[in-house]
Subunit: 499 residues, 2 copies
């Protein structure tokens, strides 16, 4: 059961099935899918009722996305009633500890409409997260710190990984149709290891999930693109199998990410019970405003504020590394694709033709009318047959080894493509913080706000390091595996050739 902490006091309105909660209290979530910015929770005394999502904080290491900061001015949430949720009389006080703590999300300021996220007034130019506009700091804070999404590993900050890793299978593509058969589509079964219960999804649902994850986590987490859309030939067997394989790869990678895999929207995608739940969940996720750089304000690293020189160096290193790896991966993909074409096209065709030429010569020689050449014609025929077998083996081989090498590198190309923007956002944040003193002097921000900015930057740095470390550990695992499989495949190839 998901445990959440209450950030701000909330008084239940009688008759609305709500639950009165106090700042610092721990609740168990009973139903996350009530919708409209509400969840059903139970307190330690066994009392249950609805509580505004925004009054609660979830351990980010368990799931960043459980926290929803609604922005009704952009997309009004579905309200249970016009008098809900309860209004707040100003934001709560910021936590006194640790020193680099970010401002927590304030509660909605009116019962009828939740307030715009008051902690961060998004004002251009980006990076908007650092353009702090007042909410006054929360007036009091007595609750324990929410658990950090990070922990310190040997390599520095790392995400906290769930105890049982999630995985899923994308399988069994089926043609479906709508509008009395006028519109056709392919529906895949997605089976998560958590529930073992298949749910159905079309490509456009994956695309929707991708958009959600990108919007929500894109500033902190590498969310690679989906396999390319294709309009023509999309009902062809081969295309469907290829797309399914890549969707599977994409889903697996998302499952492996400790933050993504525990997010509400991802859980919804994998475990929705029926169409109603799916549709409600979709609507809710689309209204999620705790997205983009906002998520950094929800993180709460316990480690000390990072040294700015160190941060600069780290960013420089990440930038160089991801650029260099991106180049390397593209180079390997380039030559790999060329090699693929040659190994599946002209090369086996040549072996085939060499085989044919030998067999043909054998036939011609047999017609010579000359005696005693059966040894030669037999040898030619068998050499010809061998070369035709070689042709087949050569043509099939790339599917056995090069395929996985290329697919893995394609995935990494997608992942690496996410970093330049992420790094640019982070670097811009660094520049902003460097201007902090001037902004204070010019009266544009307060000293407190400058401190908050620095804390938030530190949080971004932890987040980026955790993400880079996640990337590195996955990279080492993936490349160890792919190189092993590739080389094994190649060894088998040279052994199998019937010469």
């Amino acid at each position: 059961v998901l445990q959440v902490q209450v950030l701000y006091d909330f008084e239940a309105e009688p008759g609305n099935n709500e639950l009165t909660v106090r700042e610092g209290e721990t609740l168990s979530v009973l139903n996350q899918q009530v919708g409209g910015g509400w969840i059903e929770a139970q307190n330690s005394r066994g009392q249950t009722g609805l509580v505004p999502v925004d009054y609660l904080q979830v351990c980010l290491s368990t799931c960043l996305s459980y926290l929803s900061v609604r922005s009704p001015s952009l997309r009004p949430p579905t309200r249970r009633s016009s008098s809900w949720p309860p209004p707040r009389e100003g934001p709560t006080s910021p936590p006194p500890l640790p020193p680099h703590r970010l401002s927590p999300s304030p509660p909605p300021s009116s019962r009828s409409l939740p307030p715009p996220p008051s902690l961060l007034t998004v004002s251009p130019p980006p990076p908007s997260l650092l353009t702090v506009s007042p909410p006054s700091p929360p007036s009091s804070r007595s609750l324990p710190l929410p658990p950090s999404p990070f922990t310190m590993g040997e390599v520095g900050p790392v995400w906290l990984y769930p105890q049982s890793p999630l995985d899923c299978e994308v399988t069994d593509p089926k043609k479906g149709s709508k509008m009395y058969g006028l519109k056709s589509y392919i529906e895949y079964q997605v089976i998560p290891t958590s529930t073992q219960r298949p749910v159905n999804h079309r490509y456009k649902h994956f695309d929707w999930l991708y958009e959600r994850l990108l919007e929500k986590f894109g500033s902190a987490i590498a969310i690679p693109g989906l396999p390319d859309k294709q309009v023509t030939g999309r009902f062809e067997e081969q295309f469907i199998r290829g797309r399914m394989e890549r969707l599977q790869g994409w889903m697996r990678r998302m499952c492996r990410h400790p933050v993504v895999c525990q997010s509400h929207v991802f859980t919804l995608f994998l475990t929705y019970q029926d169409q109603k739940e799916w549709k409600l969940g979709k609507r809710r996720a689309e209204r999620d405003v705790a997205v983009g750089q906002m998520i950094f304000s929800l993180m709460d690293p316990e480690a000390p504020e990072m040294d700015s020189v160190e941060v600069d160096q780290k960013y420089e290193q990440y930038s160089r590394f991801t650029k260099a790896m991106d180049d390397g991966v593209k180079e390997l993909l380039g030559v790999g694709q060329t090699h693929w074409k040659r190994c599946t096209g002209p090369l086996p065709k040549e072996y085939q033709r060499i085989g044919e030429a030998f067999i043909n010569l054998s036939t011609v020689f047999s017609s010579s009318g000359y005696q005693g050449e059966s040894t030669l014609t037999d040898a030619l025929t068998s050499a010809g047959t061998i070369y035709q077998e070689v042709a087949e083996i050569v043509a099939e081989q790339p599917k056995r080894d090069l395929h996985f090498l290329l697919e893995t590198n394609r995935e990494y190309k997608g992942l690496l493509g996410c970093f330049p923007e992420t790094l640019a956002v982070h670097k811009a944040a660094i520049e902003k913080v460097k201007d902090g003193d001037k902004m204070v002097a010019a009266g544009r921000i307060s000293t407190q706000e400058k401190t908050t900015m620095k804390q938030r930057l530190s949080c971004m740095s932890y987040s980026l390091q955790a993400e880079m470390n996640h990337f590195h550990s996955n990279r080492i695992y993936d490349y160890n595996r792919v190189m092993q499989l590739y080389l094994e495949g190649q060894v088998k190839f040279y052994e199998e050739v019937p010469l």
Copy 2:
């Protein structure tokens, strides 16, 4: 020592170091290189002296080209003196046996100039050999038959092979120059197994030899072309080595031919003692008129006249076979050359690039700043190194196996290219003979001439069969060898690849 038979009586002119000989007498040749249409010979009584070459007949199986029928009207031979060689009073009688005997070459009709070859007045249209115009048949014949150039083997007529096969090496190309260095050329050493003594030849000498052999034997024997001439880049190391190798291949093939290898011109080319002998021999060979279809008149098969239906069938079979093999060889050459280019060009370049990409990724990964990936980077580096080795092995492999397969097929392409014309000549002869009865009825030829034509055709057929059988036995030998070497090379390749 070469034994020759005297075809016609010859009276020595006193004081000229000549030898009087009688028709049917057997002589031993002491010196073939006297020049000017003369040889030095010894009779059974030990007397020695000069005898006109044209008065002598050599066993064709030993060497067709020892017999020179001079045509002074075309190219006057160098005379030792104005009174040489002695005049003849009309041709000798044809041999009574066997029934399909061809007219022998007549002796020169005057002492000052030998007569045009009187047995076959060449009159258009071709095939000229069958357009018999009178010389009156030789008046008497008592000498034993010259030995046949053929013998009957299990497969039909075969050439008589010399007891010790000839071979030669073409080696040690050296740059030479003429005209004070204004003109440069490459000179090769040619070392025949017979003398083990190197002689020097430029490409143009090989070309001259080719022209002589083609002219003399081209109607009966497949004389493949020389490696292509090339004007630019002909002093480049690689070109010189390639040309030398092909000249070697061409010379070896000529050495293996029992008729060619024993011919005067070929012996001259391989064993001349000095420039004077070479120049005299060249001049003599250029004046040889026992060339082209003429050589059929010098052959004397002992086997019975061939059945015309059988001959038709044989020709049809040869025609089909050589055409089919020519197609087969060209097909193999086509794909082999494509494969060669791929295996020496793009394919190893790809392996090289794959290797580089792995090594590059290894370097990038090493710069990650992340711990514990030395196993992976080591594996990537070693995979990269392996692929660079594979690249080299792949690029070198064609030189080890495909090269010989292609060179052999190139040689056969050259040989096969000779057959269409040979067969066309022979087929035209068949047609002529078929018209023989009409020509007799029209009074255009005598019954005797028609018989001679038939005999000559039979001789041509034996010759062609002997040549086809020579071709087949060489083909089986060569292709057995080349396939064995090719497959061994390929096996080694797959074993050597360090994966």
